[in-house]
Every structure is written in structure tokens, then in C-alpha cells.
């Protein structure tokens, strides 16, 4: 649900040592960070290791491992988080970006992964 609104249009930027984009949690409510099990980013078919991903909300940045034991912060409903991928070098121009979020939902008898793709342009 809300998969098509997960990747924020026009949000791809180059940062020191990598790139970043904005994403919203594809879900009808927010979620505590300890229940976000994974965020995987693929660009033009190339995927990046879990260790390369950083997650930032309201000025605080986490590795995916740090999020697993974070019990005092959350990814709010509709909130734009900054997803940074380090150790990557994207050329300016259009890219096909795919983001997958695996979330542990207490009431579901499985662990869902939501995936969305969007064409995003990196400014020169």
C-alpha cells in the first residue's frame, strides 16, 4: 500500500562518497525503527551492501544494524526519510532506482517486503 508514493520524486542527490534519496514508509501507519528490518537500494540493476546504507530522520542518522535496536525513534506515517548509500558513484542523468523495505509487523503471520521503482534524475 502506498508503494507508488514510497520513493519521493526528484529527490536523488549526490552526497560526499555516495548518493541519497528520500523515501516514505509504504504503510498506513508509522513504525518504530527496531521493526524496520532492511532497506535495500538498487540503481540501474546494481545493488549495494546493507553496510553501505544510512537512514536519517529529523537530523539523526542510523546504520541499518543500529536501527534494529533503536526503541526510541520511529519512521512516522508519510514522513520523508533520507536514504543514503555510501561508496557509490552515480553519473549525472536519469537512473532507475528501486527501494525495498522489509518491516516486521506484529499482527502479520509473515514479514512483508515492499518494493517500488522510480526513474530519478541526478543533477550534473
Amino acid at each position: 500500500m502506498m508503494d507508488h508514493k514510497m520513493i519521493v520524486a526528484g529527490s536523488l542527490v549526490a552526497v560526499e562518497g555516495g548518493f541519497a534519496l528520500e523515501a516514505r514508509l509504504p504503510y498506513y501507519r508509522g513504525l518504530g525503527l527496531s521493526m524496520v528490518e532492511n532497506i535495500a537500494v538498487t540503481v540501474d540493476g546494481e545493488s549495494y551492501p546493507r553496510e553501505a546504507v544510512r537512514f536519517t530522520v529529523r537530523g539523526t542518522t542510523y546504520t541499518l544494524d543500529e536501527m534494529e535496536t533503536c526503541y526510541d525513534n520511529r519512521w512516522n506515517f508519510g514522513e520523508k526519510a533520507l536514504i543514503t548509500v555510501l561508496g557509490a558513484n552515480l553519473a549525472p542523468g536519469p537512473h532507475k532506482v528501486t527501494v525495498s523495505v522489509r518491516k516486521r509487523i506484529s499482527y502479520l503471520p509473515f514479514v512483508p517486503t515492499m518494493t517500488a521503482s522510480k526513474e530519478l534524475a541526478l543533477a550534473a
Binding site: 502506498m2 516514505r24 501507519r29 508509522g30 520511529r74 508519510g78 506484529s106 499482527y107
Partner: protein
């Protein structure tokens, strides 16, 4: 018989609009109240940033009360989640679960709600342990009876028995009308066809649903027709949905305090072709129900891949339908035009 049923809206209905800020929480409360559906239900973790991990700013709570006062909203329910899988690889300990429910009781009371909604997977012992605190705060904890569960399922009966044994009137039920799915929804069929289900197989499943064929036979039938992937998934929806009977609510009326008016589509003639609201209203009247039916639009997730859901129009149509069924003489209508 004069109906005492009242109308409300769960702001869940507007999730696609509030997700990206097309509508604010204030807009949702105004729209609901303009439609005469002044019972307001919220999911705390949707309508309030910060809840529960970070807490909610006092200013945000005050803004909510301002909206409710301005439009004449009445607080019905705060739907809480209780993430007992908060810790990877181990369930939340019992006492911590109870303490978490107490926190949501406080939050519900702070929002001026009468009820807090518990998800159906929560153990009855947790709710029973939280009941004395709920009584103290003037809140009732209602477990949501939601498909594939239903009022004859042993898990629900276990809850009912635990509630009776507790002797507390702060424990009850919130039935979700999706458990009375009498016809396979059009928007589900079309979504599965967009995913590649051939028309003959889609028609077969819709007909099998109409004939009340057991889900496992339908899945086998689809396999025999050569169905794969999305066709099997479409047939598997029959494992999680069924046409249970609204009259099964009658045994539980003294503990039913709120109703989720689940719907997937109400057509332009104000008819829900899947969920039998005429029968539902008849049963609720017979049972002497005096609470709210809160619109819970869930067609959004079935059409959003193809079109932007028109949540406001869908809620309006359902409210017109409900107003007619409960015998109101005025037709609900929006008064303030929506911003383009």
C-alpha cells in the same frame, strides 16, 4: 423500528490523502463532520507523529481538540497497535505488553476517546490485565473481530470467555464488517486482472465465491485451469475472506460498542455490492445497537496502482448509503468545496 445507529468515520479512510499531505487531519475531521458523520476514529500511529516511541507534542493534541471542537466531532476510538514484535527474535514480555496497553489507554483518554481498539492477534490475558486501568480512566478496550476471524472462531470465543470471567465491562468487541463479504469485490477482481489473471479464471473465482465453494477447492480448480502466480493469489483471498452471517453479532450485542464500516467500493447509485449493509443495519437495529458505524474505506489499496483513490467521494457515498439505511431524512453532503 427507529434506528439509534450513529454515523462516524475512521480517518484510516483518507490514508492515501494524508500520507502525502493532500489532506490534513483537520480536513479529514471537517469532511467527516460535514457529512454528518461526527464520530471520529483515529489510528494514533497514523494521525499523530511520534506516537508511541517519541510521544506526541502537547500542541498537536491541542490542535486535534481544536479541530474536533470547531467541526463538532465526537471522539470515538483510538486504534492502538501494541507491537509485541518490537524486539527482533523475542516476543515482548507479558508485563511490558500490559504496560503498553495502559499507555494507549492514557493516550485515548487524552484524545477524548471512549474506546481504544485492540488488534485481533493480542492475547486475551493482556487485555484482561489492562481492564482495571481502563475502568479507572473511563475507557473500554475493544478487540477488533476481523476476517478471517469471526464470531464463531475459537480464538474469539476464548476472548469472549475471558471477558465474561473478568467481570469487567471495560472489555468488548469492535466487529469489522469485512467479515461479511457476500460477493467478491469488483475492485479486487480488476486488480488481479491487471496483475495478469486471465478473465476466464477471474470469472471462475468470482462465481465460485458466489457459490460459497470452500477456498481449497477453488485453489485446486484454478490450478486445473492452468492458473499460476496471481491467479493462485486471487483464489487464496478466499482463505482469508468469507460470507459470514451478520446475525452472528446478536449473541454479543452487550459487548459490541463500535463498528468498522469496512468497504471496498460504493457505486454511484450508493450501493455496496460486496458487503450487505442493509442486512447489517437490520441486525444491528434488532440487537438494539446505539453506537457508531465508522466508515473504513479500504478500496484504496486495490486501485492505487491504476488510479489515485477518491477517498472523499467514496466516504461520501457510503455515508449517503448509511444515512438512508438508518432512516435519516437528510442526504449527507459536503459543504466546503475541496481545494483543487
Amino acid at each position: 423500528m427507529t434506528s439509534k445507529i450513529k454515523r462516524g468515520v475512521s480517518l484510516y479512510s483518507f490514508q492515501n490523502d494524508t500520507f502525502d499531505g493532500t489532506l490534513t487531519r483537520d480536513d479529514c475531521i471537517r469532511i467527516s463532520c460535514e457529512l454528518g458523520a461526527n464520530g471520529i476514529e483515529v489510528i494514533g500511529e497514523q494521525s499523530f507523529w511520534g506516537w508511541p516511541e517519541c510521544g506526541v507534542d502537547n500542541a498537536d493534541i491541542a490542535a486535534f481538540h481544536d479541530s474536533m471542537k470547531r467541526y463538532g466531532g465526537i471522539g470515538i476510538s483510538h486504534d492502538f497497535m501494541l507491537d509485541y514484535k518490537r524486539y527482533k527474535g523475542r516476543p515482548m514480555p507479558f508485563e511490558e505488553q500490559v504496560a503498553s496497553v495502559r499507555k494507549d489507554i492514557d493516550f485515548g483518554a487524552l484524545l477524548g476517546m471512549k474506546y481504544i481498539r485492540a488488534l485481533v492477534s493480542i492475547a486475551p490475558e493482556v487485555l484482561v490485565a489492562a481492564a482495571p486501568y481502563a475502568e479507572e480512566k473511563g475507557i473500554k478496550i475493544l478487540i477488533e473481530v476481523h476476517a478471517p476471524l469471526h464470531f464463531d472462531h475459537p480464538w474469539i470465543i476464548r476472548h469472549a470467555e475471558a471477558f465474561e470471567k473478568s467481570g469487567s465491562d471495560a472489555l468488548g468487541f469492535l466487529p469489522d464488517m469485512g467479515m461479511f463479504l457476500h460477493a467478491f469485490p469488483r475492485v479486487w477482481k480488476e486488480k488481479f486482472m491487471r496483475l495478469g489473471v486471465p478473465k476466464d479464471i477471474a470469472d471462475y473465482i468470482v462465481k465460485a465465491y458466489e457459490d460459497r465453494v470452500l477456498s481449497e477447492y477453488v485453489i485446486l480448480g484454478v490450478q486445473e485451469l492452468g492458473g499460476t502466480g496471481p491467479a493462485i493469489a486471487m483464489a487464496e483471498t478466499l482463505r482469508h475472506n468469507a460470507a459470514f452471517e451478520p446475525k452472528r453479532m446478536l449473541d454479543y450485542m452487550p459487548r459490541i460498542h463500535n463498528i468498522h464500516g469496512k468497504f471496498y467500493e460504493v457505486n454511484a447509485d450508493y450501493v455496496d455490492e460486496s458487503i450487505p449493509y442493509d442486512e447489517i443495519v437490520r441486525v444491528l437495529n434488532q440487537g438494539g445497537y446505539e453506537g457508531y458505524i465508522c466508515s473504513e474505506y479500504e478500496g484504496n489499496r486495490w486501485i492505487e496502482d491504476a488510479e489515485e483513490p477518491d477517498s472523499v467521494e467514496q466516504v461520501r457515498r457510503q455515508q449517503v448509503m448509511l444515512a438512508r439505511l438508518i432512516g435519516e431524512t437528510e442526504t449527507p453532503a459536503l459543504k466546503t468545496p475541496l481545494a483543487a
